[in-house]
């Protein structure tokens, strides 16, 4: 069953730059998909359209059957509650400790404290940071900070997890640790779309890979068919 269906999407920015053109794509529920391509190929624009940071100029983006481009601005938050987003720069709040950073995503919905506590500890356990709950982001390594960001992104049990170069700032060993965490989350049923430059990781993971160039899909590799040398 398709979770994401993108039909003939085109995105042109106000300055005239065409970031995505005539792009169509289907991603099934539970999939793990890498999006790769050179800088400026439209990867970031594509995922920004998925969490409705940007709107397509034309075409349709359906997530769970809902046309994302047609959601009213003030209703976008409803979509975002179903999507988790992880960034290269972690986007953690330095004045909050690990527990607070993760709990933050639940507190705004008014959940009872006891429920927040249980959920946060569970998710911190999943990313292997249960014993770091009281530490502040600046006391953590890059990999640990990214795991906190992942914990925050999945605390609401999203159907879709979007990762925008989550290993971009990390060394290869730490990157692989992050990938293991993401794979674990994927096994639990969450669909993951990950943008990356790291072809080594992409090859090692053996997942579906979509290669973008100049805003178009130039190749869609089936699971396990991507080879680093082939690009």
């Amino acid at each position: 069953m398709d979770l994401i269906r993108i039909k003939n999407v085109r995105k042109q920015y106000k300055n005239g730059l065409v970031a995505i053109q005539d792009l169509s794509l289907k991603i099934e529920k539970g999939d793990f998909v890498f999006i790769i391509g050179s800088t400026g190929c439209g990867k970031s624009t594509l995922i920004k359209m998925l969490y409705r940071e940007e709107k397509p100029t034309s075409g349709q983006i359906l997530i769970g059957g809902i046309d994302v481009g047609k959601i009213w601005n003030r209703k976008v938050y409803k979509l975002r509650r179903k999507i988790g987003v992880v960034f290269q720069d972690f986007k953690l709040l330095n004045r909050m400790n690990v527990y607070e950073n993760v709990a933050f995503a639940l507190e705004i919905f008014g959940l009872p404290k006891s429920e927040i506590y249980t959920k946060v500890l569970k998710v911190l356990d999943l990313v292997g940071l249960k014993n770091r709950a009281k530490n502040y982001p600046n006391e953590l390594s890059g990999g640990e900070q990214q795991r906190v960001a992942i914990a925050r992104a999945i605390i609401n049990e999203p159907k879709l997890l979007i990762c925008d170069e989550p290993t971009g700032n990390l060394d290869s060993d730490t990157s692989m640790e992050i990938m293991k965490v993401l794979e674990e989350i994927n096994k639990m049923g969450t669909t993951i779309i990950m943008v990356t430059h790291d072809k080594e990781i992409v090859e090692k993971m053996g997942k579906r890979v979509i290669l973008l160039d100049a805003g178009r899909i130039v190749k869609d590799y089936e699971k396990g068919t991507f080879k680093n040398e082939s690009v």
Partner: protein, 298 residues
């Protein structure tokens, strides 16, 4: 229950955030404090000037001098005519013999008047008339003057009109200053809060990403503005209460001369304090709201 939890969390977070971003909060609080102090001084001045103007206006009286030798029936007739005039607040009749008596009692130099009888006294019977609207005094004086047996009227012609003009100018200028100050305060506070909020762009961005609705994001900032407003009004309120009390006691309730009376501190200072807190809160809240809105564009 859920709404209550969200609200209490927002209040708690707003309070925490005022202290977490203390240097920027202090900038906003100082800005509110300084402008509210100026607003307070302006309100105190305006109110006192208006109060003084009101006292002067209420003291202005038309004196209608009646013809010498007027009979009691004719005095009644004059009274009936005065009654018919619109815009008169009150009037009293002063009998010339009573006036003479009062004058003699007030000073020894008037003792000489005892030689005069009712028939040959130079003092005239008078009606003292107070008007409702001071601006109508000239018109009403002319109507009284036209009444038969009224010889002449006096109400400080020229001087009263000048005073009215001066008071109106002072009143309008001071109200203008207060309004302008409030607008400037709103602008300054909004800008200072904008800087505070700019430094928390990331927080707003994360809130949006984790699915907070615009209202979810706005509420803590609105509360924060409210706290900043309340904290910023503490010094102006204290200064207003204790400062005005001290001023009033120091001058014994009058400024320079007994003629210029100061407004009594109670409940005056409490009303001003409420106004200051209200301005602080409203301006703080709207300043925050305006600043945070800028970062909510999707």
């Amino acid at each position: 229950m859920k709404a209550f939890r969200i609200l209490s969390r927002n209040i708690r977070d707003a309070f925490k955030s005022v202290f977490r971003n203390f240097s920027l909060s202090l900038a906003s609080i100082s800005c509110i404090t300084i402008t509210l102090l100026v607003v307070s001084i302006a309100i105190i001045l305006t109110y006192n000037v208006n109060n003084f103007a009101g006292l002067v206006k209420s003291d202005v009286t038309i004196v209608a001098f009646l013809d010498q030798g007027i009979t009691d029936e004719n005095i009644d007739m004059v009274e009936q005519e005065i009654k018919k005039i619109d815009g008169i607040e009150s009037y009293t009749f002063n009998d010339k013999m009573d006036i003479m008596k009062q004058m003699m009692e007030s000073s020894d130099s008037f003792k000489i008047m005892s030689e005069y009888t009712e028939e040959d006294t130079p003092i005239q019977d008078t009606f003292l008339v107070k008007v409702v609207d001071i601006e109508e005094i000239g018109k009403i004086a002319k109507l009284i003057e036209k009444i038969r047996y009224v010889e002449s009227v006096q109400y400080g012609e020229g001087l009263v009109e000048k005073l009215i003009t001066v008071f109106d100018v002072v009143k309008n200028v001071s109200i203008g200053i207060v309004v302008a100050l409030i607008i400037v305060t709103a602008f300054l506070i909004s800008n200072t809060i904008k800087i505070t909020i700019f430094s928390r762009k990331r927080e707003i961005e994360i809130m949006r990403l984790v699915g907070a609705s615009n209202i979810n994001i706005k509420i803590p900032f609105i509360f924060e503005g409210l706290f900043l407003g309340v904290l910023g009004s503490i010094i102006p309120v204290a200064t207003t209460i204790y400062g005005y009390m001290a001023l009033y006691n120091h001058f014994d309730g009058q400024f320079l001369s007994p003629f210029i009376r100061l407004v009594k501190p109670e409940p005056f200072i409490y009303i001003i304090s409420l106004i200051l807190v209200a301005i602080g809160i409203i301006v703080g809240m709207f300043g925050s709201l305006k600043a945070v809105k800028k970062h909510l564009k999707i």
